[in-house]
Amino acid sequence: MALRTEELMLNMGPQHPSTHGVLRLLITLDGENIVDAKPYIGYLHSSVEKMMEQRTYLQNVALADRGLDYLTALANEEAYLLAVERLGGIEAPPRARWIRTLMLELQRISSHLVWLGTWGNDLGATTVFLYCFRERERMMDLFEQATGGRLHYVYFRPGGVAQDLPAGWTDRVLEFCDEFPGHLQEYNDLLTGNPIFLARVQGVGVLSKDAAVGMGACGPVARASGVPFDVRKAFPYEAYGEVEFDVPTHDAGDCFARYLVRMEEMRQSVRIVRQAIERLPDGEVRTKVPVAVKLPRGEIYARTESPRGDLGVYLVSEGADRPYRLKVRAPSFANLYALSEMMRGWKVADVIAILGTADIVLSDVDR
């Protein structure tokens, strides 16, 4: 007698502790194997793009800061302001450009720490979670001293940054940079020294290079599949053209490769932070830009490398003091596309490991 089987639909989320937000995954299972995984999004839609049409360019900094990816507020501000400054021909002074570079890299480290901690926690490594957040706490203290905010900074402005760095701040950052690689090594030992962890991530959730390109994956996800593309290198903005750093890539395309790429990115970020502090020029941090600045009629697309990937802002101006239309090309959204491709064919127990390495932030997906 033949065994009768049928496919099972499993609804995961939107309230699931491991989706890190309100992501609903509709997973089709054949026994234990994933036949298909469909993400359903929109639970965190805040219509921030529309709201930005009602507010001036200065006010929109505060919206871009928290309306998109909440873990990388400064990267959002940067993408938005890059579009504004390029369209308006506003030039930030050199010191502001270097401060922005420095801040963006610190932001990358803090965002990757959240990823590492939560992903480790999903896979059962609670120690790593607590340690990553301990490190991130120090970073948030640094951010707090410089910008006044811990998560949402509203620090960049059209034509510079809000205020200069406080006295002695760069020394504290350097101190952090001295200790941090040691801690990173410790987390690495804790995770990769564990055979169970390795068994759960090595060779799991493979995204081939063709699929990564085809699905529009970006950032660390694409680089772990062997696509050597980084906006910081390809289209340098701020001071990225003048600093030295490597773009780590991997060919395997599995969860472990994505882990390795992000770990190496954190080390490279430390390198950039050191260079930025060393070469920080003196001078003004902000050019005079009117509060209700008007941009000339026109359109522009600015792209940046946020910790999650290729973050772009398309801005249309009709000559008023507020955008006519603003469209955000969100990296998490593009990587979510690639998620079904990563998951197909693996076991249901791998869903969490794969989802974690895609590093999706739902407020970035839904906007």
Partner: protein
Amino acid sequence: MAELAVRAWEAVVGLATGLRVTLRALGAKKNTVQYPIERLDVSPNWHGLLALPLDPATGKDKCIICFQCERVCPDRCIHIEAAGKGKERELTRFDIEMDKCCYCALCVEVCPTEAIVFVPCYEASTLDRSRLLYDLDDLHRADSKEPVARGIFSVGGRS
């Protein structure tokens, strides 16, 4: 058999790495504070609650009623009304809806007289949403309206 031995050895090494970290953490400094009893200082830059401190020299508001903060606020949560003419002009209403405020500091930045400032206070939670509307009196006081976190002491009988 040999493979099994290798894997067993790897597991032992992995366990030892973890335990080493645990032992080190046992003797190391604490990273946490016992919150309501101990608390950390915030930086002077801190974006906390907003306040309108009175000018110590004159005992009056520093605000010159220019409406710039009201206009720049992205959440439109500042509401100002004034009465009188010329030198006599006085604030009759200065409300900040603290539940809408996103602590962006734009109002503090545009204020020409430094009348509106941040105070290093972060315990603004209340049990009633309407208590998050801060009027002129609350803003003069430069403190939170209902310090729930401090209430723990009285509830626990610690005082």
